[in-house]
Amino acid sequence: MIGGLFIYNHKGEVLISRVYRDDIGRNAVDAFRVNVIHARQQVRSPVTNIARTSFFHIKRSNIWLACVTKQNVNAGLVFEFLNKMVEVMQSYFGKISEDNIKNNFVLIYELLDEILDFGYPQNADTSILKTFITQTGIKAQVTKEEQSQITSQVTGQISWRREGIKYRRNELFLDVLENVNLLMSPQGQVLSAHVAGRIVMKSYLSGMPECKFGINDKLVLDKSGRSDDPSKVSATGKASIAIDDCTFHQCVRLSKFETEHSISFIPPDGEYELMRYRTTKDISLPFRVIPLVREVGRTKMEVKVVIKSNFKPSLLAQKIEVRIPTPLNTSGVQVICMKGKAKYKASENAIVWKLKRMGGMKESQISAEIELLPSDKKKWSRPPISMNFEVPFAPSGLKVRYLKVFEPKLNYSDHDVIKWVRYIGRSGLYETRC
């Protein structure tokens, strides 16, 4: 399995090195630095083989994390592990940066000891780990009570929730977060579009509650024969949606999902991601971008971009940003826009047009004249126009139909739980070629 794990800064200095197996020598640390970090070229593959040793790396901001092994391992597992490691570290000290890693190195070593033993991943659940790790808490002396907690943790059947949790107010927050991705041709033809959605929950519930959760998934509704109920038509005008693929948090009883298409689970305490899904059909694209690029001679270009919002007029989109790339040899830009603020950013080679908010079914446009320095160099590769925004609905059309909480042992019922549901649609890679 994993023979060792190294963390480097952008210069290739080792911040953390932990070797789990004898077959990995100290020189492995240097081999990766020399061959990958210092190679000064684009990374050819996230898996590198140096002298029969495989290095798997990921990069977060300017920190490199590398797993190394001599065995024939499962690459998917290793990368998932690295991602998990990053997640765990983030939950302890926020952003992954050189300073944070240096300040927390004792904690990181401790984490590495608990998460991996002899190169085999053990338990990597943040909430569980907190009971093993001494470094965060100032109270390091393990009290009697905590001790028994650890034992129940360690032997408990449900590994993601400990017993005896109590809250005065039982609350449940549910966020449907969607990233809508689009690639559109200049003619307005959708080349590819998909929504990657996540349902994130924050639960503050006492005891060992059981939750039931329903969405307007086509399969579920067809089964119960309610798909043609007109009152269920959602904001985007669709009764039910087709989910291409979904994955769930460990706590969800998948057998029930398979047979009854109901999502039932005993939730972990605090924040977690309940479900992740992807849809590709009938996506309501919140915005359309219509580009018009005209090259007037060799030293001038005219760009006109129209954006149209395509959702209910009562809703408001926020944080809209349109990024129009300009050629490398741009010498000057004049921008005219009716709404919002637009600026040419020479360092980013782009015109950035920002709008604070925009209502549904509206349109807005920007036009720009770009002056070019004469150059017969490479033809400009015309990167796509990209867009960022945030809208208060789910572009996939997903709706939460119900969310029920049962706790048979304690005396609170579904009505006593305060529930909050929120939909946020954000742009993923939302690009229109021009």
Partner: protein, 741 residues
């Protein structure tokens, strides 16, 4: 960067550790320890503090304990004598009431890996296996695997193995997984942990209890059990089906492999499994990080080899995003190329042509090559592809034009009817294309088709003028041929420049190959012009068969390779790596008596019976093979390895062949003794495991560098057979050739 912390620092730290004021204040004491550990991480030698740290380890403060244990693990190997002192504390800690401390102590103890301490560790380890706390048991089980490398005799004891087998039924899921992993390592020589029906069913019933990492491992171990009935197989698939929905892509892949493995004898169901796997794989590509997406793409590429049509409907999912890293883009490009079939090829070619303006020249070049590849594979799409290539050519960029030319070169031979479309472009390329291989292609095309251009000879003439400044040998050779060809179709315009070119190449050029070719042309033309025409024009007009070795649908993938590194590195590269590693290990064995690498992966089991060559590989002393058979075999076989050897100039090549004959490696054909380069084709037949394998060798001798290169091809159906064959035959060859007398 290792550096030496000054004595002052160490002295200062030592005083701080001994200072009663510091010892009294827990936080201050921790600070000091933290500094020690931080200096240690930077590579400073902190080993002189060992006794002080051992003293510090006898504490009830858990934080302090963890820090000191980290230090002890790091330096125990250097301070072996003093490590004994640490064991005392550790042993005491193993009896603590707090399970955290017990587990920690046990883990640290097993991580010391010092043979002399084994006797002290044995007892706590055995006790740990029966501990009431699961945390301690987890560490104890892993401890067994760690100790295996220090004291195998203790761990391989039947008692321990039985106990570990028993602990597969432990109620803590992590203990179960650790047990399986430990047993797999301990029993490596016997083929790893045995999974019988009982264990398999038990694991399947608990599959939901395991953590995501545990599920990956368990699914891997379940591969060892083959259900006896079809019904059982379906039951198993129903249970494991949930794993395909897991959010961890490692689990999804492991489940997928298991499914394919279960259905390997049921082709129809296997097809369904592939279909079932489609959407999770696509999901990883679109929403996983770039690294995971790369891994999934590699697997898709691998799967496409057996079921080429699988992703045809979803080809748009493989379009590159602007922000994808280069490696993802390159992989997507390869997958798209392989996916192109009737119906999708136009869209795919359209998309590929978008990438040729990518910022990365490599990707641009690759996309053009990909279009060429599609055209070669699908004759129906050829005209569309050529049209696209010609359009791309209009971009007037050096790297693009070069790539387009090279792609077109292959196509004109295959589809002669596109020639009239291509030739008018050639004059435009002359100024743009400067790099060696692309320029050689251009010159070749000028020679082949340039005679239809009105100014054809004059374009060549410019090049002939500048031949002195040309560096590339390849370009010069092509220029000679092209000018000679042009001479036969447009003699009046070319005679003069051909003369000048031949003169330059014969008199002034320093490269032998160039001179030889010029001399040959000169003599040919000198003796008989008609004969020369036949030779020079005839040779290139042969129809050229292009073999597309990596066309999809031609290989049957090995299911075992899924979910390993093989799809990521590619079959061939992986085989070379395995082979190299084996050689390294052999060398280590010869020099040290023991292998450096303690852990050698799954193939390690065979290592023991490779000690003497004669035992396993036996070359047959008589075998008849006709040259025709040799040739067809040479074309067919694709299991190839290359061996580099030193050449001893005191032996003549013929003596060498004799020597090889003595070792039962027969000569099929060879060049004359003094030819340069000297080549020989050899063959041998090996008997191994009651099977015979044919091996073909091409031996090339480079006299200048005194080296030889042997390209060996093997006739083996199974990869498992080929690997030992390759390594052993390589050694026989090396041994015979380098042995004196």
């Amino acid at each position: 960067m290792p550096f030496f912390a000054g004595n002052d620092t160490i002295k200062e730290l030592r005083t701080a550790l001994a200072d009663p004021a510091v010892q009294a204040d827990k936080n201050r004491y921790r600070q000091v320890l933290r500094r020690v550990v931080s200096l240690m991480t930077d590579g400073a030698d902190m080993s002189p503090l060992f006794p002080d740290i051992i003293k510090a380890s006898a504490t009830s403060d858990l934080v302090q304990k963890k820090l000191t244990y980290l230090y002890i693990c790091n330096y125990a190997a250097v301070q072996q004598d003093l490590a004994l002192l640490a064991v005392n504390t550790l042993q005491k800690d193993c009896l603590e009431p707090n399970p955290m401390v017990r587990g920690l102590a046990l883990r640290t103890m097993c991580s010391l890996r010092i043979p002399s301490l084994v006797e002290y560790i044995q007892m706590p380890l055995k006790k740990g296996l029966q501990d009431s706390s699961a945390y301690v048991r987890r560490n104890a089980v892993n401890g067994c695997a760690k100790m295996l490398h220090v004291a195998p005799e203790i761990i391989q004891d039947a008692g321990v193995i039985d106990q570990l087998y028993g602990m597969i039924r432990d109620k803590d899921p992590i203990v179960v997984v650790n047990c399986l992993q430990a047993l797999e390592e301990i029993l490596q020589a016997e083929g790893g942990v045995v999974v019988n029906k009982n264990i398999a069913h038990y694991l399947l019933n608990r599959v939901q209890d395991f953590s995501e990492w545990g599920q990956c491992q368990v699914l891997h171990f379940l591969l060892k059990y083959k259900p006896s009935e079809e019904e059982e197989t379906f039951d198993i698939m129903n249970i494991v089906d949930v794993c395909l929905k897991h959010s961890n892509s490692g689990v999804i892949m492991a489940a997928l492999k298991y499914f394919l493995f279960l259905t390997r004898d049921m082709p129809q169901i296997q097809e369904q499994v592939y279909n079932r796997a489609k959407s999770p794989l696509l999901n990883i590509i679109t929403s996983g990080g770039p690294e995971l997406s790369y891994v999934a793409l590699c697997h898709i590429q691998y799967i496409l080899k057996t079921s080429p049509g699988l992703f045809n409907k979803d080809f748009k999912k493989f379009f590159c995003r602007y922000n994808d890293p280069l490696y993802v883009k390159t992989k997507k490009l390869q997958v798209l190329t392989e996916m192109a079939t009737d119906g999708t090829e136009n869209d795919i070619v359209e998309e590929l042509s978008m990438y040729c303006t990518d910022v990365s020249n490599d990707l641009a070049t690759a996309s053009i090559q990909a279009i060429g590849k599609i055209a070669r594979r699908l004759p129906t799409s050829a005209s569309h592809c050529v049209g696209t290539l010609l359009k791309i050519h209009g971009l007037q960029q050096e790297h693009i034009t070069s790539a387009v030319l090279m792609a077109l070169k292959d196509l004109v031979l295959l589809y002669p009817d596109i020639v009239p479309k291509v030739t008018p472009l050639l004059p435009n390329c002359v100024d743009l294309v400067q790099e060696g291989p692309a320029k050689a292609t251009l010159v070749w095309m000028m020679g082949q088709y340039g005679h239809t251009l009105p100014n054809g000879p004059y374009i060549l003439e410019d090049m002939v003028e500048n031949v002195a400044s040309e560096i590339s040998v390849q370009v010069k050779l092509e220029l000679l041929t092209a000018t000679a060809k042009m001479f036969f179709s447009r003699p009046a315009e070319c005679q003069d420049m051909l003369g000048r070119l031949l003169e330059y190449c014969i008199d002034e050029d320093t490269n032998m190959a160039v001179r030889d070719r010029a001399l040959m042309y000169y003599r040919l033309l000198h003796t008989d012009v008609q004969q020369a025409r036949r030779v020079i024009l005839g040779a290139a007009n042969r129809p050229v068969q292009i073999q597309d070795s990596d066309a999809p649908g031609q290989e049957v993938i090995n299911l075992k390779d899924l979910n390993t590194l093989v799809p990521i590195y590619g079959r061939r590269r992986w085989d070379v790596m395995v082979e190299e590693r084996r050689r390294k290990e052999d060398q280590a064995k010869l020099t040290n008596g023991t292998s450096d690498d303690t852990d050698m992966g799954a193939e390690g089991g065979e290592e023991d019976n490779l000690e003497t060559l004669e035992e396993t590989i036996y070359l047959v002393s008589h075998y008849n093979l006709t040259p025709q058979e040799f040739e067809t075999k040479w074309e067919q076989l694709d299991c190839v390895t290359t061996v580099h050897l030193d050449y001893n100039p005191t032996h003549s090549p013929n003596a060498l062949l004799q020597k090889l004959e003595g070792a039962h490696i027969f000569t099929m054909a060879s060049s004359p003794e003094d030819a340069t380069p000297w080549k020989a084709f050899l063959f041998a037949v090996a008997e191994m495991k009651d099977q015979t394998h044919l091996m073909l060798v091409e031996l090339c001798l480079d006299r200048m560098a005194a080296t030889m290169q042997a390209t060996c091809k093997f006739d083996a159906d199974q990869m498992e057979d080929a690997v030992p064959l390759i390594s052993q035959f390589g050694r026989v060859l090396r041994g015979t050739i380098t042995s004196s007398s």
